[in-house]
């Protein structure tokens, strides 16, 4: 495909994802942080984010499933805070928002639904960002320029 067409598509996709609130301006900031010295910065950070986030979500899930009688809300709260911190850093807006809500819930009970939503949001975010990256790679392959470079 033509690089220009791809770029347009990327712009549209980014805008849409922004509109959906999956990511926010911070993500764009992160994108601008890559340069000639460190072209993979965004990929690297986002990969780290996915890894960490997956880990944290698993922790939370485990903590919730662990015992019927005893649930360590302190740990869940700390994990949720961590998750919030890293998602805010990469601009994964919806996860951040959910985490804020999550921490609010922790005093009472985390419903099964909100956990599921967390899983859902995570996979959604992952999906979207990966598709953005895919497009970017295609652009690079087509010899185009990426925004922020």
């Amino acid at each position: 495909m033509d690089a220009k067409l791809l770029q347009r598509e990327l712009l549209e996709l980014t805008t849409r994802v922004l509109e959906e609130g999956v990511i926010d301006k911070q993500f764009l900031e992160i994108q601008t942080l890559r340069d000639e010295d460190n072209p993979n910065f965004t990929d690297e950070v986002v990969a780290l984010f996915f890894e960490d986030a997956q880990k944290l979500i698993n922790e939370i899930t485990k903590a919730l499933e662990q015992g019927q009688n005893y649930v360590d809300f302190g740990k869940i709260s700390a994990d949720a805070h961590q998750l919030k911190g890293i998602s805010a850093s990469v601009g994964a807006k919806r996860i951040t928002d959910l985490c804020i809500a999550f921490r609010g819930f922790c005093d009472q009970l985390i419903s099964e639904g909100s956990l599921q939503q967390l899983h859902y949001e995570f996979s959604l975010t992952k999906n979207k960002i990966e598709s953005i990256f895919k497009l970017e790679k295609q652009i690079l392959a087509a010899g185009g320029m990426l925004p922020g470079m």
């Binding site: 805008t15 301006k25 992160i30 601008t32 942080l33 950070v45 984010f49 890293i86 805010a88």
Partner: protein, 962 residues
């Protein structure tokens, strides 16, 4: 010891008990009352006693007196009888004479039931006597008298007691004694009291001796006996005597009187009265009586018939006292209870106050948090809208997007206002003191409202008098906020006319509004508003009347020419800013509460014009914080004029660092054609800021004159070089439209001018006809501001504007701050670390990342090469606060050891936090951190924090080096 103390305490506690206190009080007052009652009773009795004494004495005296009178009469009678006997035998008196006489004189002896005369008859004479009288002497028992030495038969007697005639008085024991005693003493003598014959009343017999011849007072008993011829006697009816007497006296009924014969003290004989058993015995008094018989002693004893009654006061007074005591007790009780209540309430209120204060703090934290939380997404929204506007949109989409953006901005500004208000209330708002260009700020405000004022066809203008320094030190943001608020209000409420902001040096610190207000009112009333208005009408900016007439040309003109020198020694620059509009004005009844928060002139205002009413109260607070005050004059349907003063500082900084206006227009000449002097002055002011020399003329003729240089001495055929001619739209329409371009063309042709001056039309609205547009070079839309004029001139004159590097400005400044700096980033999370590292690297800093507080401490072991440390607050094991504390401790230890060495270790530590509320900030500072940055980084905030800190650090290092 302790036991007794405990005991004391116990007693005291017992005393403190309520019931015990009440009982004590009641019994105490009862005792007091009884005491009072008894005292009054005693007093009463004393009074009664003294009364009794006086009454008794009085009675005794009277009785004695009356008795004495009677006795005297009997005495007189005795002497009379003796007179009859004087050397006469038989005497010259007989029974009938005696009876008559005594009868007739009985009124003189009211106490005596009767008098009688008994002759002394010795035994030898008895027969002779009996024969002479014709009866024999009888005893008291009316029997013929036995043989005796002596007799005393009654020969004369008063009619009333004629029954005793011929009775021998010597036969009665009492009488006999009496007679003997009377004869031997020659004085009146009294018998013991006894029941009188006939009347059966208690009485005494009074006996007087009658001597045959005069007896000397010292005669012996024998002589007296020898001389005795008879005895005069009278029966005293003591009972009726006393009765009569008592009847005449007051208080008779209350008092009981007894008269006793106490010749023999052990057995007193009663003479009058019922005896000792009646009456009130406890209180009695005896007065001595002297009835003229030295042998006998009498006394009068008085007592009350009844126990003296208890007087009313003796009952009512203690009762009253008791009642009073009870009342006092009740009052004390009530007061005590009230006191306890109040204390309790106070305590409760104290608790509530603490709670309320806690709630207040919670509220402000909540506000800060919430507004932060709202602002973040709102910024996202606005950013996205910005991006959206950069894309290709059709008209409708663009319109919608712009509307959304405007709304979003309004929402942000409202949140900011609420936050401001909260900050001001909690006293956390601090004014900055940085250099700024006041004219630029006013231009910004004008540009902010330009579209709105244009839509309304309202003329918006600013003017800063030349005396105001270019650069002042103060808080530009807050200054702008104040003016934005005031202008915003004016724009909201003005639909025609003008809004005019002008800034002057305040002549003195006094606020001149009050007097002006007075004058305005005075003028308005006395001169009649009509002529007043027409007189001043054309001299304001738009020609409409304004509330405060200070911006009229007459008043403005001297201000323009006047070079008010600032006080050379003082750094203070007192400014007076006036925002004047010709809007709807403020209703008179609402003018008092204009500066109260959330108060709009009336509730319909928010419906018609929107807004929360918070702006003016913030404005007032800000103005007061700047050391000024704010006031306004407003007339409904005329307009409002807000004036505030503020105290700013002089700044020596060069203008160049703030110069944003292009300098390529300097040295140009311009002519402004405007018949309104105020408006002309404003245009001139903006031109002057661009370095253009301007001349304001009122009409086209003057313009020609100015252009053709009649007033200068160049007269060499060339006209003065005029680069720009600015014409107001209304003037243009009236006469210039035709003549000016033509004349200019003529001049050009004739070579009188080398370059055609550019014609600039100044218009309030965009509705300028195409025709007009063609005949001028460019149309400038009001509101005027220097940068706008510059841009227009650039276009008209074909000058390439200097390229502005507005974007990337902030980024560049952060880069300036951070480039080459070595920074340690502490965050437990790899992602955050990487992001922070990437962002800071972008600004040219050298970054080292560590994942825990412990690593941070080991990296910051002195000596190290880090300039700053960005520290996450929430970390496992050792959080940001703890880490900072340890680092600071480490540093202070080293600093202590090195002592006077120049280098002092203090690495800048900034907290990285997502929730920037005051409490967190305070905690950061308390732990020894230098500031905070938001996470993820926001450029503006990052810059502000870093700028403050690095500047401070550099200056402190510089100070150290010195």
């Amino acid at each position: 010891m302790t036991g007794s103390e405990k005991g004391c305490g116990g007693v005291w506690k017992w005393l403190m008990k309520r019931t015990v206190q009440v009982l004590l009080w009641v019994s105490m007052s009862a005792v007091v009352c009884v005491g009072i009652h008894l005292w009054m009773k005693v007093h009463n009795i004393n009074t009664a006693e003294s009364l009794l004494i006086s009454m008794c004495d009085e009675r005794a005296r009277m009785l004695q007196h009356q008795f004495a009178v009677s006795v005297n009469h009997v005495h007189a009678l005795a002497i009379l009888v003796s007179t009859f006997y004087y050397n006469k035998i038989p005497p010259a008196i007989n029974q009938s004479v005696f009876a008559d006489y005594t009868d007739m004189t009985s009124f003189e002896r009211p106490l005596l039931s009767g008098v009688a005369y008994a002759q002394r008859v010795v035994r030898a004479d008895r027969e002779k006597f009996e024969n002479q009288q014709g009866w024999i002497i009888k005893t008291m028992k009316k029997e013929p008298s036995p043989e005796q030495d002596e007799y005393a038969p009654v020969i004369f007697s008063q009619e009333t007691i004629s029954y005793i005639e011929a009775l021998d008085m010597m036969s009665g024991e009492e009488d006999r004694e009496n007679i003997l005693r009377a004869r031997s003493t020659g004085k009146a003598v009294l018998t013991n009291p006894f029941r009188l014959l006939e009347s059966n009343h208690l009485g005494v017999i009074l006996t007087f001796p009658v001597y045959r011849w005069r007896i000397s007072s010292d005669a012996t008993v024998d002589e007296r006996v020898k001389a005795t011829v008879g005895y005069l006697g009278g029966a005293f009816d003591v009972e009726s005597l006393v009765e009569n007497l008592l009847k005449q006296l007051a208080g008779n009924k209350d008092i009981m009187v007894n008269v006793y014969d106490v010749t023999n003290i052990s057995t007193p004989l009663i003479m009058y009265g019922s005896g000792a058993n009646d009456g009130y015995k406890l209180l009695s008094y005896a007065s001595m009586l002297d009835f003229g018989d030295p042998f006998r002693r009498h006394q009068m004893e008085c007592r009350y018939r009844q126990k003296p009654p208890i007087t009313w006061p003796a009952i009512t007074t203690p009762l009253g006292v008791y009642v009073i005591c009870m009342l006092v007790g009740y009052i004390l009780h009530a007061a005590h209870r009230r006191f306890i209540n109040v204390v309790e309430n106070c305590r409760k209120m104290e608790e509530l106050k603490v709670k309320a204060e806690a709630a207040d703090i919670a509220k402000s934290q909540f506000l800060a948090t919430v507004s932060h939380e709202i602002r973040t997404p709102m910024n996202g929204v606005l950013g996205m809208l910005d991006m959206l506007l950069d894309t290709e949109l059709d008209c409708t989409q663009r319109d919608h997007t712009q509307t959304a953006q405007t709304c979003g901005k309004a929402l942000i500004s409202l949140i900011n206002e609420v936050l401001d208000r909260a900050k001001i209330e909690s006293g956390k708002l601090e004014l900055e003191a940085v250099p700024f260009d006041i004219r630029a700020i006013l231009d910004e405000v004008v540009s902010l409202f330009s579209s709105k004022s244009r839509d309304n066809g309202v003329e918006l203008a600013v003017f800063v008098s030349s005396g105001v320094p270019d650069i002042l030190i103060g808080d530009p943001g807050r200054f702008r906020q104040i003016i934005t608020n005031l202008v915003g209000n004016s724009v909201k409420f003005t639909e025609r006319g003008h809004i005019f902001v002008h800034v002057h040096l305040a002549k003195n610190t006094e606020f001149p509004i009050a007097t002006t207000k007075y004058e305005t009112c005075l003028n308005g009333i006395s001169k009649g508003s009509c002529c007043f208005e027409t007189m001043r009408a054309c001299s304001t900016l738009s020609g409409l009347t304004t509330a405060d007439m200070r911006s009229t040309w007459e008043i403005l003109q001297p201000l323009l020419s006047e070079e008010m020198p600032l006080h050379p020694d003082s750094d203070d620059v007192p400014l007076m800013v006036t925002v004047e509009d010709t809007g709807v004005g403020i209703p008179l009844n609402a003018q008092d509460r204009m500066f109260t928060r959330f108060m709009q002139a009336d509730s319909s205002t928010s419906r018609n014009y929107g807004g929360t009413g918070i702006g003016l109260s913030i404005t007032k607070c800000l103005v007061e914080m700047m050391g000024g005050n704010i006031d306004f004059i407003s007339h409904p349907d005329v307009g409002s004029t807000f004036t505030f003063t503020s105290m700013l500082k002089k700044c020596d900084a060069k203008m160049s660092s703030f110069q944003t206006l292009p300098i390529c227009f300097r040295g140009m000449n311009a002519v402004v054609i405007d018949e309104m002097p105020v408006r002309g002055a404003i245009t001139k002011y903006h031109l002057q800021r661009l370095g253009i020399t301007a001349e304001v003329v009122g009409n086209i003729q003057c313009a020609f004159a100015a252009i053709s240089g009649q007033h200068d001495f160049l007269g060499n055929g060339y006209l003065k070089k005029i680069d720009v001619i600015l014409v107001e739209l209304d003037k243009w329409k009236s006469d210039i439209e035709r003549s000016l371009p033509k004349r200019l063309l003529d001049w050009k042709r004739s070579g009188q001018i080398l370059n055609m001056p550019k014609l600039v039309l100044i218009s309030t609205s965009e509705t300028v006809s195409a025709n007009t547009k063609e005949s001028v070079d460019i149309v400038v839309l009001k509101p005027l501001r220097a940068s706008l004029l510059a841009a227009c001139f650039e276009k008209a004159l074909g000058i390439d504007g200097q390229k502005r590097i507005e974007t990337q400005n902030k980024r560049a400044s952060i880069r300036n701050l951070l480039v080459g700096k070595s920074i340690l980033v502490v965050d437990d999370n790899l992602v955050n670390r990487r992001v922070a590292e990437g962002a800071l690297k972008k600004y040219g800093a050298q970054i080292k990342c560590v994942g825990s507080g412990k690593d941070a401490i080991s990296h910051l072991q002195i000596p190290h090469h880090f300039d700053a440390c960005f520290m996450d607050i929430q970390m496992p094991e050792m959080d940001g606060f703890e880490t900072t504390k340890q680092i600071r401790m480490m540093e202070s230890n080293v600093n202590k050891c090195t002592g006077e060495k120049i280098e002092r270790w203090h690495v800048l530590i900034l907290a990285m936090t997502a929730d920037v509320i005051q409490a967190t900030y305070d905690k950061c500072i308390n732990c020894g951190m230098d500031g905070y940055v938001s996470k993820p980084f926001e450029e503006e905030q990052l810059y502000n924090s870093l700028a403050k800190l690095f500047k401070f650090n550099d200056s402190s290092i510089a100070a150290d080096e010195q």
